[in-house]
Symmetry: C2
Subunit: 151 residues, 2 copies
DNA sequence: CCTACAAGCTCTAGCGACTAGAGGATCAAG
DNA sequence: CTTGATCCTCTAGTCGCTAGAGCTTGTAGG
């Protein structure tokens, strides 16, 4: 019935160090330990970890997941808050998509205009060197929000 | 002719600590200093910093920008490498867009199916809890590559 | 010339969500 | 009882900055 962190890792598809990290940041509980201080888990933890993994795959931040977990523990409450959280996240994803599409457009323009000659005449370099060469105002968002990812 | 880091900051639209950071990681040169160790810049640095800023806005990583800068200093060379770098980056942006669109689809499905009742019947929570509820295989990429951004 | 004070300097630490590695303990099978 | 896979804690690194402490310098006004 009680199993190790390695087994939990395989059952939920989350790496062992990541599970320990989740415990550290309060997403996963501190489980009971063996006499030798090794963690022992049950099926409830597999379910919880699957929930966390799926939410992460959908791009929810750890803070948001903490809230979602707290809410899902109150099944009699209204799900308005859950809904709000999900909608806010959806809106963020949509913003990110819009931003990336603008970047894609400009990158496409850059590479299609490159005449494959020398660096001195390269459109890619020219556009980068001279902001005036591009239509978009892609530097308009908050500083550091270029819409780029960790991977 | 020679101006301070604050002036450079305003002319290029890059914050002062960020300029110092770029110097540290080798994107910007170590400029000459006054007797009191303050950095002095010229117009060449404004141009270089604009190049860097624009490349960052387009989502190029610092390593890629270092390469782009090195290439742009060799105007007689073929721009094939420049082209390759830009195309690779474009491909990454396209992958990210595809991934985010898949996420958006699923998030939309979740929120539209939510009946605004209790948490216990909430579609959002149900989908998160049970991976089988969703069509997509959005957990298939390399670990940690959910396509999410820093902002 | 002197005094404010804005702006510069270096250094360290923090963000988010992990990942990697050291160095050692424990568990389960044979 | 031994082997070796797995577990433990701890620290540090990733990326591209950002924030703050605590001190020094440059410059403009009086």
């Amino acid at each position: 019935m009680a199993f190790s962190i390695g087994i939990l890792s395989r059952r939920a598809g989350v790496k062992v160090p990541t599970i320990r990290y989740y415990e550290q940041v309060g997403l996963m509980p501190s489980p009971p330990r063996t006499d030798g201080q090794q963690r022992r888990y049950g099926d409830a933890e597999v379910a919880r970890l699957n929930f966390i993994r799926h939410a992460r795959e959908l791009g929810f931040e750890v803070d948001a997941i903490r809230e979602l977990l707290a809410m899902s523990a109150q099944p009699e409450e209204s799900c308005a808050d859950v809904d709000r959280l999900a909608r806010r996240h959806l809106a963020e994803v949509e913003q990110r998509i819009a931003r990336l599409i603008a970047l894609r457009t400009e990158l496409q323009r850059m590479v299609t205009e490159c005449g494959h000659g020398r660096v001195g005449e390269c459109r890619v370099i020219q556009v980068l060197a001279d902001h005036g060469e591009c239509d978009h105002d892609h530097g308009g968002a908050r500083p550091g929000s270029t819409g780029f990812a960790e991977a």
